[in-house]
């Protein structure tokens, strides 16, 4: 029973996260301005990272941990670079 | 075979890799050291290739040396396979590499960064592609040689190189993706990547999976044909080769042969006569594509005033000839084609080097003038004739040497006597007309065979026309040109390549025997497959 509940809750949580990704994607696609897309991408990264953690729970293994870890540590780099490009027109001065 | 000899196969890959790595780490001003290292490496490669060829040839009918990397069994590890074909191509590669390096010593080595390292990696890629017995590893080595070729094509930078390079890289990146698609499809249905293993599994493959395998092979073939510059996939070739620096272009004359090599190897290994339903897969297309490529190359050769483009056109003709010859699917033709491959690769390499020497000292206006001169009916010769009728002009030693070299290249490429091009062409045509051997059986010549015969003869004529025109314009007509300053180290590689062509003519017997033996074992891959797959760890 608990297994059932847990499984369903997990599935529900994953669906919510997937929907959250969808929302973020909408912002990426719609814009209207570049900064909106960047924020959208950043959110997409975070949502994806959380989805990865739930994948780990679902499969009961920890091999997905590293992927989540790397997104958490470095996922911001590309968005930061994008933001810097918006600000300065170049990423490295 | 024991001791160090057993490791000879890895040398053409490992040595340039290691020396290249050291060159990368060395400072730029150590170019003399780098040149010396490069030279040593190529000489060692040359020696190794010669030794491998001797070993392979001495081994009799089914001589194959299998080098199991990492000591893993052939079926799932990566193996190198040295047979006559790979040894031959290693040898040609080393020769061209030596020529390119020598030529670059004069000044090209310092026209951009890391020339020597790139050259080593280029040779490593070529050697690896010729040696590997694994499909995916072939992809990797294709990428190595392509990456290095991108570097060499762009060596020296400049508008023309970069513009051509963009096209070249785009096409080859797309082709590489096709390569991946093809390889993975083959893996998907056959479950293996080893070429010999693949050939062994092919007969047992379920009929329902066969179309997928053939589709994979077809896509793979398209990727190879881009590299071989088959029409209409090879429009990138002429601008790229024409823009590349001479040493790079000389090496590139081998690069287009890699595509042909891959086609040759795989077609015969996977779709040879005893593969049942798949036998002869794609031969007709190869033949047709090859012939059209010859025609296209001939037209390009005819239509250009520009020496580098002319040489590029010769590459196209050479590629087309080889593809069509592979498509003919006959041992005798393949043997001739291998002879042709060797001689044309060397001659084109020499030509690319020569072109720059010829262009040196020409004033820029000459080319513009030549276009109008081409309508050669204009009678400005009258007054010239009045002037100094009947007194010859001595040709400076340098020009004489250049002219002789140019003539030799032209003869080889047009397939005219007395050089190796003629023998090559004869061997192929004789094979087309008499597949079973001269006077043995009333073999029917296919329409494709006739088309190839006509295309070969006509392309030879076109090459002759274009080369004569170019030679006369560059060596005879341009009277007040300055005699180019040519270093010994620049003419030496040209002479080296031409001497090899001459040697192939004189020793046509033994050389041809090698080629025929190579072709025979390529066409009967069973021994090959048995030797690779049959031996357990």
């Amino acid at each position: 029973m608990t297994a059932m509940v847990l499984s369903w809750c997990l599935l529900l949580a994953q669906l919510m996260l997937a929907l959250a990704m969808l929302c973020a994607t909408w912002r990426v696609l719609r814009g209207p301005r570049a900064q909106d897309r960047v924020v959208g991408l950043d959110t997409l990264y975070v949502n994806a990272m959380l989805l990865l953690v739930t994948f780990g729970i679902r499969s009961g293994t920890q091999v997905y941990f590293e992927a989540a870890l790397v997104i958490a540590l470095l996922g911001f780099v590309s968005t930061a670079a994008l933001a810097k490009f918006l600000m300065r027109g170049e990423v490295i001065e | 075979m024991n001791g160090w000899q057993q490791h000879l196969a890895i040398l053409p890959i490992a040595l340039p890799l290691i020396l290249g790595a050291i060159m990368v780490a060395l400072d730029e001003h150590r170019w003399r050291l780098k040149a010396a290292m490069g030279l040593a490496s190529i000489l060692a490669m040359l020696a190794a290739a010669a030794a491998l060829a001797v070993q392979a040839h001495a081994g009799g009918a089914a001589s194959l040396q299998v080098y199991r990397l990492g000591n893993w069994p052939a079926s799932f590890g990566i193996v190198l396979m040295v047979d006559r074909l790979s040894a031959l191509l290693l040898l040609v590669t080393a020769l061209l590499g030596l020529a390119a390096l020598l030529y670059a010593l004069a000044h090209w080595q310092r026209m951009g960064a890391h020339f020597h390292a790139l050259l080593q990696f280029q040779l490593m890629g070529l050697n690896g592609a010729f040696l590997t017995g694994d499909l995916f590893n072939l992809f990797v080595f294709f990428e190595v040689l392509l990456a290095a070729s991108y570097g060499l094509a762009l060596h020296g930078s400049g508008v023309a190189r970069v513009k051509a390079g963009l096209h070249y890289i785009s096409m080859n990146l797309a082709a590489s993706l096709l390569f991946l698609i093809g390889v993975s499809m083959i893996y998907g249905v056959a479950g293996t990547l080893n070429m010999a293993d693949l050939a062994a599994r092919l007969p047992r493959m379920p009929a329902a999976d066969r179309p997928l395998l053939e589709a994979g092979a077809a896509i793979l073939g398209v990727a190879f044909l881009v590299k071989a510059a088959m029409w209409p996939l090879g429009f990138w070739l002429m601008p790229t080769y024409a823009a590349a620096s001479p040493p790079a272009a000389a090496i590139f004359s081998m690069m287009s042969k890699v595509g042909v090599y891959a086609v040759l190897r795989l077609v015969l290994l996977l779709f040879g006569p005893e593969t049942g339903e798949s036998a002869g897969f794609g031969n007709t297309w190869l033949m047709a594509g090859g012939v059209v490529t010859i025609v296209f190359g001939a037209i390009s050769v005819l239509g250009t005033q520009d020496l580098p483009r002319l040489a590029g056109g010769c590459v196209l003709i050479s590629s087309g000839t080889l593809l069509a010859a592979v498509g003919a699917g006959q041992i005798a033709v393949t043997g001739g084609a291998l002879f042709y491959l060797t001689s044309s690769a060397l001659a084109i390499g020499a030509l690319f080097l020569l072109i720059e020497l010829l262009d040196r000292g020409r004033d820029l206006g000459a080319d513009v003038l030549a276009v109008t001169l081409e309508a050669f009916g204009d009678g400005d010769d009258e007054e010239e004739q009045q002037g100094d009728d009947g007194i010859g002009v001595p040709i400076p030693m340098t020009m004489a040497a250049l002219a002789t070299c140019f003539l030799c290249c032209a003869l080889v490429l047009a397939g005219l006597p007395p050089l190796s091009g003629f023998i090559a062409k004869f061997a192929m045509l004789d094979g087309i007309l008499n597949p079973a051997g001269l006077g043995k059986g009333p073999a029917l010549v296919t329409p494709g065979g006739w088309a190839l015969l006509i295309a070969l003869i006509l392309s030879g004529f076109a090459t002759l026309l274009a080369m004569t025109r170019a030679g006369i314009r560059n060596l005879w007509a341009d009277l007040d040109r300055a005699v180019p300053r040519v270093g010994a180290v620049e003419i030496a590689p040209v002479l080296l390549l031409i001497f090899v062509c001459i040697g192939m003519t004189v020793a046509a017997g033994p050389v041809m025997r090698y080629m025929q033996a190579t072709a025979a074992s390529l066409h009967t891959p069973q021994d090959y497959v048995r030797q690779v797959v049959g031996r357990p760890r």
Partner: protein
């Protein structure tokens, strides 16, 4: 053995002489003696062989060359070959002698003699070849060396053009001959001359007879200047006169005739033979003779006369009559002697007077009487005056023409009239040659004061003219045996009875001769005024200009035709090339699949996971939107590409490939940053409302269809494969052996660094090479003028905006180092490894560059990426090579656990060292690329290059990359 010696010597001596001569200094005069000696020795060799032939033996020698191809170097000298060999070497010797005096001291003479001797060798090889392929071999060599000889005065445009024309026509014909010989060999089953000659009936009955015949005749006709290929010969007169004397009397042009006669037993005797050759010969005979009359240049006159005589011989050969064959051989010999001497005489005149123009020359009989006598006799032979050799063979020709006329076709029946007409014309031009130059009043209006040439310059002419007379008076005693041997070696037992006598009684041929002589004199008188009026061109045939036609054809072929076809067949536009590539790949796969179709396999499908499906809604939307936005909204496209990449990465995770996911993610980050770094140098784009053109829309629609087809194709193939039962492939091995034999639990990593470590080595090499290339290319980077200035985003004032973020970005760096090393060290057993760690560390460095700027970072932290790369590659390759030291194949791995007491067991795997190399290289290469790009911004304040000419003005831009 003896055979071998003199046959080989006959061919190789001239080449040896040529080689030695070529190496002599440019103005060595002694070279003539060397050349003359060589020629004489060659002649001696032929004569040595002649005794054997006379004894009824055919000397031969065979050296193995390429036996696999049925190709041996075989020489064979029968009577016919000997005849030609005598002519080639004998006249060759005389020409050398003559040249010694003819050529100017300022001419670079060794080159001349070298080419001449090489040509002689080729001619000897040609006539002595016992193998058809070998014959073609020497055939093309004669073309080649004649090209060099004709173009000897390469400073003259006429010489260049003449040489080129000769080579084009003769070598082109040679290629046809090559094809023809190949077909002939295919028919017979051998290229050996003996075998071919014995297979006449087989050949003539074969369906491929006609193609072979046409191809071979093409070769012969081009070489022997038969109509319509005759035009190259007069232009070859731009060569020094000795060359003309040699090439156009006895050798080059006779090669075609030689071939016709040589293959006569095999190819002749059919209607096709007659109907091709006879009209050609006839037209050549008549047109050549007619045009010759109107030439003002003595050499040109001789050239056209040569054409005419070649036509005559061809005509004789075409008649399918044995007697005509004998006549042809006889005329070959006669023509060689008188024509060579005439050319030499013309050369003497040219040499001593400075001109060859008959209109200017006059009365040379006074100043150079000896020469005049010699020329007179030779011209008489050419005209067919009795008691000279030309007369006898011409009589035989008339006889044959009359015999042929008994066959009731129009062509046959006009032959006697045509023969007489041709003879009339021959008399006319011979008369013009002699009368125009030697008779009439003496003139002062010459470039040089004429006088007799040096004694020895005349000797060759004297010898030849003497031969003309001796043969003309005593034919059977002199040339009889040679002719007999020659004819017999062609006709064999079928050799007919013939009589070589001056007087055959008063018969029809004699009448024809007399008519010709009288008619010729009359015609010359009739045309006298016209000829002396100095009008250029040939009456009635003004339009017939072979050279112009040739030029036009050449221009057409190499310009209009080739270029038009090239335009049609090729494109230099990348879009089209890529389109073609995609379409061809699609078609290739489709064609392969079509015969059997592509049905999905029978594997039980996996139920759809809504989460993944939703994920792919995201991925698909991002991909499509990126495709849509990439033109005008680069930044947006980049962001969307990031979205698609992220979903791909999630998919890898979902499908149990953590290593892939990690790598994909990191690569994605680096790529995004790289592209952003590059974006700074790209031109601004603003969306234009245009491009709504209907054609443009159609093109886009077509591309859309192609893209959709390609996408669907990929879908179909992957679906079909995924639904099939997996083959029992090699992957089982990896799973089973990864730990036990590879020493790692992360199977993917063990594959990467051990099982297929060789792939990895290649792959890191690729990365290294690319980094080097990027580095080299960027060093010469020249930004576009408009990108040189500061980006407009920096126009506005902004302070301290990076102050706070930079603190965090710096703080993160050690964290990144730690995590990167963590992933590196556990890679063999858990997800991670060299690639991932290397990329990660590179991103760490990148972050510092972003936070602090290039200068600041490089003041604080020095990374030497090239060293890292070299070290990494060396470590990886060295690990591989180290195995060799232990007698194991390259890349054989080794692993053990070192017991470090309380610190636990340390895994010692060579694969880990290999992975360390990978790490170093990936790190170095990535950093090198990033830094090289970043440095462009630092280099910015430099002089703006002038805008390149080719640049089109880009649409002016207002906004930044986006909106």
């Amino acid at each position: 053995m003896q055979d071998a010696f003199y046959l080989l010597a006959a061919v190789l001596l001239p080449y040896a002489g040529a080689l030695i001569t070529a190496l002599l200094p440019a103005n060595a005069r002694t070279v003539a003696w060397l050349a003359g000696g060589t020629a004489l020795l060659t002649l001696l060799m032929v004569v040595l062989g002649y005794s054997d032939i006379a004894a009824g033996r055919i000397p031969r020698v065979a050296l193995p060359w390429a036996p696999e191809l049925g190709l041996s170097f075989t020489l064979r000298m029968d009577g016919f070959a000997a005849t030609f060999a005598v002519m080639a070497s004998g006249i060759g010797f005389l020409v050398v002698l003559y040249s010694r005096y003819y050529m100017s001291p300022d001419d670079p003479i060794p080159r001349f003699f070298s080419f001449l001797l090489a040509f002689m060798g080729s001619m000897m090889g040609l006539v002595l070849s016992a193998n058809l392929i070998q014959l073609v071999f020497f055939w093309e060599l004669t073309s080649l060396f004649s090209f060099l000889l004709i173009g000897y005065w390469q400073n003259l445009a006429a010489a260049r053009d003449g040489a080129r024309m000769a080579l084009t026509v003769t070598a082109g014909g040679g290629l046809a001959l090559f094809a023809g010989v190949l077909v002939l060999g295919h028919i017979v089953g051998s290229y050996e001359l003996d075998a071919v000659l014995a297979a006449g009936n087989l050949v003539r009955a074969h369906p491929l007879y006609l193609p072979a015949l046409v191809l071979i005749l093409l070769g012969a006709m081009t070489k022997s200047a038969q109509f319509p290929f005759h035009f190259w010969l007069p232009h070859a007169m731009a060569a020094p006169t000795p060359v003309s004397a040699y090439l156009h009397s006895a050798t080059l042009v006779k090669a075609g005739i030689f071939l016709l006669a040589r293959l006569w037993p095999v190819l002749a005797g059919t209607d096709a033979w007659f109907w091709i050759l006879c009209p050609v010969g006839l037209i050549t005979l008549l047109v050549g003779a007619y045009v010759a009359i109107f030439q003002h240049d003595m050499k040109a006159l001789l050239a056209y006369s040569t054409i005419s005589h070649l036509g005559l011989i061809t005509l004789l050969l075409s008649l399918n009559s044995d007697l005509a064959m004998v006549a042809a051989v006889f005329h070959i010999i006669n023509h060689a002697t008188f024509k060579a001497s005439l050319f030499m005489a013309a050369g003497i005149i040219d040499h001593e007077t400075g001109t060859r123009d008959i209109r200017r020359l006059s009365g040379l009989n006074q100043s150079m009487p000896f020469t005049a006598r010699l020329a007179l006799v030779a011209a008489g032979a050419m005209a067919g005056v009795p008691l000279l050799n030309g007369f006898i063979s011409k009589e035989m020709f008339f006889t044959e023409a009359l015999t042929a006329a008994t066959t009731p076709t129009l062509l046959h029946s006009i032959l006697p009239i045509a023969a007489t007409l041709a003879s009339i014309l021959a008399v006319t031009y011979s008369l013009r040659f002699i009368h125009g130059a030697f008779f009439g009043p003496e003139t002062d209006d010459l470039p040089k004061k004429p006088h007799e040439p040096p004694q020895f310059m005349r000797v060759p002419v004297e010898i030849l003219v003497f031969a003309c007379m001796v043969v003309g008076i005593l034919p059977s005693a002199t040339v009889g045996p040679l002719l007999d041997l020659a004819a017999r070696s062609i006709l064999g037992d079928a050799t007919p009875e013939y009589s070589l006598a001056v007087w055959h009684g008063f018969n029809l041929p004699l009448v024809m001769s007399l008519i010709a002589l009288a008619g010729g004199v009359a015609l010359y008188r009739l045309l006298y005024r016209h000829l002396n009026a100095g009008i250029d061109g040939t009456p009635l045939l003004e339009r017939l200009d072979g050279r112009r036609a040739f030029d036009q054809v050449m221009v057409f072929i190499s310009w209009r035709f080739a270029r038009a076809l090239e335009r049609l067949m090729a494109t230099d536009r990348l879009q089209m090339q890529l389109r073609l590539l995609v379409c061809i790949a699609f078609l290739a796969a489709t064609l392969a699949l079509l015969p059997h179709g592509l049905a999905p396999g029978g594997v039980q499908l996996t139920p759809v996971d809504p989460v993944v499906a939703l994920m792919w809604v995201v991925g698909g939307a991002c991909a499509i939107a990126a495709a849509y936005q990439a033109k005008y909204h680069r930044l947006a496209a980049l962001v969307m590409l990031g979205g698609a990449g992220l979903v791909t990465c999630l998919t890898f995770v979902w499908f149990s490939a953590p290593d892939l996911a990690l790598t994909q993610l990191l690569v994605e980050i680096v790529t995004t940053v790289l592209m952003l770094l590059g974006l700074r140098w790209m031109p601004k784009r603003i969306e234009s409302a245009g491009s709504g053109h209907i054609l443009a829309r159609l093109r886009r629609l077509r591309d859309l269809a192609i893209a959709a087809a390609a996408g669907l194709g990929l879908t179909a193939i992957s679906y079909a494969t995924m639904t099939r039962v997996s083959p029992d492939g090699i992957s089982r091995q990896f799973l089973e052996r990864a730990y036990t034999e590879g020493g790692g639990t992360n199977v993917v990593n063990v594959i990467l660094v051990d099982f297929r470590g060789f792939d990895t080595m290649g792959e890191i090499t690729v990365l290294g090479i690319v980094a080097l290339t990027v580095f080299a290319l960027l060093r010469r980077f020249r930004p576009a003028a408009e990108s040189v200035g500061m980006p407009e985003q920096q126009q506005g004032e902004a302070r301290d905006w990076l102050l706070i973020p930079a603190v965090t970005m710096r703080l993160i760096f050690p964290v990144i180092i730690a995590v990167s090393l963590y992933l590196l060290l556990r890679g063999h057993d858990q997800p991670g490894g060299g690639f991932i760690a290397g990329l990660m560390l590179a991103i760490g460095i990148l972050l510092q560059y972003m936070a602090g700027g290039t200068r600041w970072v490089e003041d604080h932290l020095r990374v030497l990426p090239l060293r890292w790369m070299g070290f990494g590659l060396l470590l990886a390759a060295g690990t591989g090579a180290a195995a060799i030291a232990f007698g194991k194949p390259f890349l054989t791995s080794y692993f053990a656990y070192a017991d470090l007491g309380p610190l636990g067991k340390l895994p010692l795997a060579s694969a880990v060292i290999f992975d360390l190399g990978v790490f170093a290289l990936v790190f170095g290469a990535t950093v090198l690329m990033l830094i090289a790009l970043a440095h462009q911004s630092v280099r910015r304040p430099r002089a703006a290059p002038p805008p390149p000419v080719a640049a089109l003005p880009e649409p002016a831009a207002a906004a930044a990359g986006e909106n």
